[in-house]
């Protein structure tokens, strides 16, 4: 009698742990990864939305390089101290000659080759993958960047789904 209780209890406990772990994996619990805390309270909503600055004005390499690029710190300073847009934290970085340690939101594993320029050349808008940054705040990754998601779009647009297209 007692033995069967014990075994039953053990099975239930193991089941609970397995379910718990499975839930941890399946639920979108990676908030901090999808919308990490940035060193500066930079707002895409303000820059791209309210001010209407084009994405490629700051991410200027997206159209000609595999990487989109971040604006150099000095580039921020073309607008900032002027027009009454003083930001103490930003000026501190400039003064100390330290780059701002932004936290990456969108990243792909090393075995994936993702060229920005090809996707822009194909006429995709940035929002296709990066979402409407003019509306969402804080900046949040809303796609999981898994291979199936890439393939869905590639199939739909009838572009190559050969392994070597991305895994070079």
């Amino acid at each position: 009698m007692k033995k069967s209780w014990l075994i039953g209890g053990f099975v239930v406990a193991v089941g609970a742990i397995v379910t718990g772990v499975a839930m941890l994996y399946s639920l979108p619990l990676d908030f901090s990864e999808r919308a990490p805390v940035q060193p500066l309270m930079f707002s895409h909503k303000l820059h791209a939305g309210v001010d209407g600055i084009h994405c490629l004005f700051c991410h200027r390499y997206a159209a000609k390089s595999p990487v989109a690029g971040l604006p150099a710190v000095s580039f921020c300073m073309t607008c900032h101290p002027r027009f009454g847009l003083e930001i103490k934290e930003l000026e501190a970085y400039v003064r100390d000659r330290k780059p701002i340690p932004w936290v990456r939101v969108y990243s792909l594993p090393d075995h994936v080759y993702f060229p920005h320029m090809m996707h822009i050349r194909a006429g995709l808008v940035c929002a296709t993958c990066h979402g409407d940054v003019t509306a969402i705040e804080p900046l949040t990754r809303f796609v999981d960047l898994k291979m199936g998601w890439c393939l869905g779009c590639h199939r739909q647009k009838k572009v190559s789904i050969d392994c070597w297209t991305c895994h070079v």
Binding site: Y61, S65, P66, A72, S107
Partner: protein, 732 residues
């Protein structure tokens, strides 16, 4: 440990591992402070053509540079030396640039000499100290108390060094390399009255016999000849060139041969003459060649009478049948070519043996013929006896007649101890090193003025033995200098300027770069105006000046006054009873003469024959090893008359039983974290003065004995100890 403690620790470890997984995996994105220059697009690479100066071969390279950082090096397909190929050493000069132990700025010695204690100083102070030392010499009318020791420089750099010493007024400029082909120049000028190095047309030949020339690993221009060897074997539809290798140790080159003749060390010259005699006796020689060279077969046969088959077989330890067979093959296949290499040259009878081997090329009519041997197109004058220059400098230093020594390179490591160079150098009161890393020589220095790395330098690279055409590679900086270093010739120019107008007179140029442009303009000469920057940029873009116009230079022709080659009986340091084994020191494919040892990629490159990494080893024939009770990986002591070293043993079937071999390059006292204290330097064993002989670069003429110390050799091999050489396939 108690059960309870164990469980607690286990639980803690598990919890830490799980919690660690909860941390966000986001990387940091670090922006530029200031946007990069025009032409730099992050994520997109730029490719720059440059030239490799690691070894004298001078291959052309293409460097991939992204975001201003050099990332990868490959061969330049347009460069006539290497045609887009590159060796491991060329690939790894990247690590010279990024080496963690590079000298970042000038250093001044702060501890006792040789202690390796230095204080960083500014260039201003460094140059001031050097100028002060030189001015003192000038004031005391003792300008010949200055010495300059460099590797064998070529091109504009050689001019700068020579003019600096000339205008300062010191004759003591020694340009010495352990492996420099002085012996080839000497042999060629004795036989052909033409100092220029040979270029072997391997791609077109049908029969190649190499007397100890390891052209796949190190001989003259390994990438060039490796590529040509591939052409010789597989580049033609109907012909597969045949290759015979003569030499006591099976090198990588020998392993690529169809036939391996492990001749006794020092007997190769006699073997070549024995073959020549067979050719003459059977009238298999090329008649036209005799006429063209003003020789008569009968007289030559008479002169070679001594080298009859039984005598040659006995000297070389090879069977008569094999010698006859190889001689016949060589004589009846056209074109056929014979190469002489370091293994032969670094014996006491080296120069004459090399001449004997070159005589085979004359007999088979291979001089100045496709598939034969031509004088190298990149004409270069240079010392024929730099070893003699070195010894006289040692003598001068020993007599305290040198007060300032300027040293480029690492002679303390790459010169045998028995030359007395190190002791003599210790007597020099002021030593300046230009090394990029604190190598063995820089450790002895009073002042270190670090040179740029290869990828930060300007320069012209005149390749060695690379073809009939003239080719001059151009080195250009592919990145902005990582540290506060300055190029060696620019330091010489700056010092000359500080020493006054008389000293600066031979250097009208503002910088080495300007001087280089001037030299290239002179080289282009009247053919095309060098008026614009366009030409210069175009040269840089292509990687150099490659001339395809066939200006037929003078070919090789036997000099009437030349004697018939007569290699003397080889002599060896050490008594045969006490030291029963011949020592061969050979070039490691990774380290060259030792300059590659600081680079970790080369340290972890397994030796192609023994698969050993990160160490030195001695190769011993299985029979010899069994007799001495030595097993694979045992620690052994190798003793020669001048010294002894301890290193692990590799039981190697591809070596004569009366011979042991140790690769060059390891055993550094300095050279950064990857080279320091790793392995041993076999040059410590090499005797330079051999009884009854003039001191000469006979690195392979020393006898040794081997004794077993323990089983703890700590040998690291990549493959199975005998994986890369199946002993049952090698017969000796």
């Amino acid at each position: 440990m108690k059960r309870r403690t164990f469980l607690q620790l286990g639980a803690m470890t598990a919890a830490t591992a799980v919690l660690d997984g909860c941390r966000p995996a986001n990387e940091k994105l670090i922006p530029y402070l200031v946007p990069p220059d025009e032409g730099v697009t992050p994520g997109k690479a730029n490719y720059y053509a440059s030239a490799c100066r690691f070894c004298p071969a001078g291959c052309g390279i293409l460097v991939r540079v992204s975001e201003g950082r050099a990332k990868k090096i490959e061969g330049n397909p347009d460069h006539p030396v290497n045609r887009g190929k590159l060796c491991a050493r060329g690939q790894s000069i990247l690590q010279e640039l990024y080496h963690p132990d590079r000298v970042p700025q000038p250093l001044k010695r702060s501890g006792p000499q040789g202690s390796g204690k230095f204080t960083p100083i500014s260039w201003e102070e460094g140059l001031a100290i050097l100028t002060e030392q030189l001015k003192t010499l000038q004031r005391e009318q003792a300008t010949d108390w200055l010495a300059l020791v460099t590797p064998q420089l070529r091109g504009t750099l050689a001019e700068v060094a020579a003019s600096f010493m000339r205008s300062f007024g010191s004759p003591h400029h020694v340009s010495f390399d352990l492996l420099s082909p002085d012996w080839l120049k000497l042999a060629n000028s004795r036989s052909f009255g033409n100092q220029s190095l040979p270029w072997y047309d391997l791609a077109e030949t049908r029969y190649l016999i190499s007397f100890g020339a390891d052209f796949v690993e190190s001989h003259l221009s390994p990438v060039h000849y490796g590529h040509a060897f591939g052409q010789m074997r597989q580049g033609r539809d109907t012909v597969r060139g045949h290759f015979t290798y003569v030499g006591g140790r099976m090198s990588l080159t020998a392993a690529s041969a169809d036939r391996w003749l492990p001749a006794r060390p020092g007997s190769e010259g006699a073997l070549a003459l024995g073959m020549a005699r067979l050719l003459l006796a059977d009238s298999l020689y090329d008649n036209a060649a005799f006429a063209a060279n003003g020789l008569r077969p009968e007289t030559l046969l008479k002169a070679l009478e001594r080298y009859d088959l039984p005598m040659v077989a006995q000297l070389s330890g090879l069977s008569q049948d094999v010698i006859v067979e190889v001689a016949r093959e060589f004589a009846t296949t056209r074109p056929a070519v014979a190469m002489a290499g370091e293994t032969v040259a670094f014996q006491t009878n080296g120069a004459e043996s090399v001449r004997a081997i070159q005589l085979l090329n004359l007999l088979s009519g291979s001089l100045n013929r496709p598939g034969g041997v031509y004088p190298d197109g990149g004409a270069m004058a240079g010392p024929e006896n730099s070893f003699g220059d070195l010894l006289s400098l040692v003598e001068v230093m020993r007599r305290d007649r040198i007060r300032v020594a300027l040293i480029h390179g690492d002679p303390v490591h790459a010169i045998p101890q028995t030359t007395g160079f190190r002791e003599a150098l210790a007597r020099v009161p002021f030593i300046v090193s230009f090394s990029t890393i604190l190598d063995d020589t820089a450790m002895q220095a009073d002042l270190v003025l670090p040179d740029h790395a290869c990828l930060e330098s300007w320069g012209d690279v005149v390749p060695l033995s690379s073809g009939r055409d003239k080719a001059i590679g151009l080195m250009q900086p592919v990145v902005t200098p990582v540290f506060d270093t300055r190029q060696f010739p620019d330091v010489l120019l700056a010092t000359a300027k500080r020493l006054g107008s008389r000293m600066a007179a031979p250097f009208p140029h503002e910088s080495y770069l300007e001087m280089l442009k001037g030299t290239m303009a002179k080289r282009l000469g009247a053919r095309s105006g060098f008026d614009s920057e366009t030409t210069w940029v175009d040269l840089l873009r292509r990687g150099g000046l490659f001339e395809t116009s066939r200006e037929q230079g003078k070919g090789y022709r036997w000099v009437a006054a030349a004697t018939v080659p007569a290699p003397a009986e080889p002599r060896f340091a050490g008594d045969e009873k006490e030291f029963p084994l011949h020592l061969q020191v050979y070039t490691s494919p990774a380290f060259h003469d030792g300059r590659g040892a600081p680079l970790p990629w080369l340290q972890q490159l397994p030796d192609p024959m023994s698969t050993v990494v990160w160490d030195s080893w001695v190769e011993i024939n299985p029979k010899t090893a069994a007799g001495l009770g030595i097993k694979f990986g045992d620690l052994v002591e190798v003793t020669s008359p001048p010294g002894s070293i301890r290193l692990p043993a590799v039981i190697y079937p591809g070596i004569r039983p009366d011979m042991v071999a140790i690769p060059l390059g390891q055993g550094h006292q300095g050279g950064g974290r990857y080279a320091m204290g790793r392995g041993v330097n076999p040059l410590d064993l090499v005797a330079v003065k051999i009884d009854g002989e003039q001191p000469q670069p006979a690195w392979n003429a020393t006898r040794v004995r081997v004794t077993r110390i323990s089983e703890k050799g700590k040998l690291v091999t990549v493959g199975h100890p005998e994986g890369s050489f199946r002993s049952e396939l090698i017969e000796i």
